[in-house]
Amino acid sequence: MKRLVAALARGCLPSIVALLASSAMAAIAPQTIRDLAFGESDDKIKAIGALSAGGDPQALPLLQALLDGEVQTVGEEQVLLVQGEKATDLLTGKTVSPLPENRDDVVVNNRIRRGLGTAIAALKLSAPDRSARLAAAKELQNSAGEDTLGAITTALAKESDAEIKELLSQTQASIQLASTDRATRIAAVRTLAESSNPSTKTLLLAVLEQKGGSYVEPDAEVRGEAEKSLRAVESKLTTGDMIGRIFSGASLGSILLLAALGLAITYGLMGVINLAHGELIMVGAYATYVVQNLFRRYAPGAFDAYLICAVPMAFAAAGLVGMALERCVIRFLYGRPLETLLATWGISLILMQAVRTVFGAQNVQVENPSWMSGGFVAMTGIVLPWSRIVIIAFAALVLLLIWLLLTRTRLGLFVRAVTQNRAMASCTGVPTRRVDTLAFGLGAGVAGLAGCALSQIGNVGPDLGQSYIVDSFMVVVLGGVGQLAGTVYAALGLGIVNKLLEAWSGAVLAKIAVLVFIIFFIQKRPQGLFALKGRAMET
């Protein structure tokens, strides 16, 4: 299929170009082409402006060719469109073969290049395809000059798409700010109030600027309007900033939640302190990496679906490692938490070194499937990446499943029974040993899911787990032992507080502030946010 397309393209494209060159170029006045090719910079820019304002659809390929350096001159009479080994005389429309030796490039300096870019964008604005128009409108927003005003106004009148229309009217207003007509300027300033683009703020500030005691903008009414618009834009920017920050806080919180959920099961419910938890996350991430590689090699067509397959694989890989650990090491250390802590640290060292030996010490590449790239545009300038949105939803789903498992299934009942009173549960016939293994496997599997999620937004390397272990323990400590609700509140709270502080004081200080906060918080509520109530004296 691909090959067929390629063959078609190879065969047909030159002929299409040649067709364009012969028929279309002839429609453009030869004088304009001469100006473009032989004129001084000013002549060239004037010619470009004329082509752009004319709105002639046939001007686009010519300008694009000029920008790409495909237009060359021979002496003072021939202007050639050179594409590979073929050349077309733009003035006569005839094919020139063989290529003349004494060709010269048409000089395109930065100023002309800018002019060309704007003109091409203006021409693209009349393209039938929506995404092409949108791209052109975005390009114009940052580079438009007065020469494109005509093209924009024309396009605006014809445009039906709301998003493109908004972009264009913003751009139009910013050009009109330089107008000599007072009413135009006021209208422009008013239009700008609708914008939520940071560059609009700069634009409005420039209107209000003072130079040598007098305002840049001589008219007081325009200035008053500008101030009003400025305030409107600023409030929109602040809102946008806040949305962005809360979103990244929620995103961090969802990641912390995923990392801490497994810990809430192994530590909160079973009382096993597992310092290898971070490495179980890493195992999940590497399982995702392996699945990705398998898909790339054996099923490249279904590559986008690899993640769906990787989720259960990550769960299974980490879960199996976890169950093996429980059977071989942790089982013998129940009731000795400090020893468990040391032994699991040893396990984490071994797992890390094992991964280094198998996969190498460098980070490995895990690619997002295409449906997770890009983002949801909440406002101009604020893009919420799909990958993070998917992870937030994924965390919520995992939470729901764990809750269902713990409260609605037989295994969950057993886990809760063993947690509350091991001896009594054993007496009533609960196979406590098997429940231990399964519960630990579940906690480890959830860590694997966290690793699968993390592989989509961060680096995957042997040290991956180390960076999350302290944070996830903080979540469990803050949330309180034996409660899922506490873990959820603590994870989201820590995530959002961390991100809000980060904007105010920088990432490292924010992290330190959060840790200090936790240490003080534990003073007040030594058992965490949601402590199980009881009267038993601790032994």
Binding site: I273, L338, E339, L341, A343, W345, V481, L515, I519, Q523
Partner: protein, 375 residues
């Protein structure tokens, strides 16, 4: 407690058998060790020619000097973990703070010999700072630096311990919080703006108390000081654990609530031994830095602090000599392993953690004790 299964530690574990400081045999062993470390070792290094079999090379002087610093740390860890039952995962922090305090003095004694020939250390010139920040004041005086070595870890431990012990944070909770503390400090010291050289920390020291720091005599003096400190702290530790204070500490380890019901307030006992342990760690760090010639924030990484716990566990908690030997054994093993099979060291260390906790809960010392009992 969560599992409904009370853990009763072996009641004889480290309970002082003698109320005398050391037995006669103990004293003679102690004297022998002192003579070897303080007299024989320096003589063999300084006076015996380099080509002789008996000569002790620079490599061994540095290595053993380093290991003695680690042994002091393991001893401090043993006082708080082995005897009082509080596992700290933050002792690397106190070690590093002592090291940084000494490092500040060493940095200022470089004088104008840095790369930029400035009054300020190179990293401050690099940050375009014009003068020392306030917390660097007086650090050019050796006496103040020594005071800082004791005060910085001591004050931090006192404050942290007061708040933690007052709200009865204990067991694993305490361990995790200390780990978070050292992690926070590591992040803080990694920042360039904190004023401690960021990533690179302090290095390129030139002299200490006016003596060139690389001269064999200076190195030997540092070595002897470290050895003396180790011997001194051994005796201090022995004195504490054989005293009534030591009995209360052991009682807190074994049954804290009963100690409370007997009318003792565990807070002050814990706070005392915790602060003392931190100060001893700080002194070890201060002795470590001039011998190794570098201090950077990676000393505060949580991994380092956990490694300290394993030295103590390997040697045997609740014995004083055990952790010293444990630190020596693990670190000698490490320096051999990282040279012979660098990629397998972490496997070996990991296995050590697992095997010691599973099969040697009382460490090497416990092994020796049980053999003595059998014969």
């Amino acid at each position: 407690m969560i599992l409904g299964r009370a853990f009763m530690p072996d009641a004889t574990l480290g309970a002082p058998r003698y109320l005398s400081l050391l037995s006669p045999g103990g004293w003679s062993l102690y004297g022998l060790a002192a003579v070897v470390l303080l007299v024989v070792f320096p003589l063999l290094h300084l006076t015996v020619p380099a080509d002789s079999v008996l000569h002790i090379s620079d490599y061994w002087v540095t290595l053993i000097g380093k290991i003695m610093c680690y042994a002091i740390v393991a001893l401090a860890m043993d006082l708080i973990w082995g005897y009082t039952g509080i596992l700290s995962l933050g002792h690397g922090l106190f070690f590093a703070l002592g090291g940084y305090a000494m490092g500040m003095y060493l940095m200022r004694s470089i004088g104008h010999e840095g790369v930029y020939q400035s009054d300020l250390p190179d990293f401050m010139v690099f940050l375009d700072w014009k003068k020392y920040p306030w917390y660097w004041s007086f650090t050019d005086h050796f006496g103040y630096a020594v005071a800082l070595v004791v005060l910085a870890p001591g004050l931090l431990a006192f404050l942290f311990g007061f708040f933690a012990f007052r709200s009865r944070i204990k067991g694993v909770y305490f361990s995790i919080i200390t780990q978070a503390l050292t992690y926070a400090f590591m992040l803080l010291f990694f920042r360039n703006d904190t004023g401690f050289g960021g990533n690179n920390g302090f290095t390129d020291f030139k002299r200490i108390l006016g003596f060139p720091i690389t001269a064999p005599e200076t190195r030997m003096a540092l070595f002897v000081t470290t050895a003396a400190a180790l011997m001194g702290f051994l005796l201090l530790g022995r004195w504490i654990v054989t005293s009534k204070l030591g009995r209360v500490l052991t009682a807190i380890r074994d049954a804290e609530t009963r100690v409370m019901f007997s009318g003792y307030n565990p807070l002050y006992f814990k706070l005392f031994i915790w602060t003392l342990s931190a100060v001893i760690c700080g002194i070890a760090g201060a002795l470590y830095v001039p011998q190794v010639g570098i201090i950077n924030p990676s000393e505060m990484s949580p991994a380092n602090s956990i490694e300290i716990a394993i030295w103590t566990a390997v040697g045997g908690r609740g014995t004083l000599l055990g952790p010293v030997l444990g630190a020596a054994a693990v670190n000698l093993g490490k320096s051999w392993f990282t040279k012979a099979f660098p990629e397998y060291w972490l496997f070996a260390l990991g296995l050590l953690f697992i095997l010691v906790t599973l099969f040697l809960p009382r460490g090497l010392a416990g092994l020796w004790h049980s053999r003595k009992k059998r014969s």
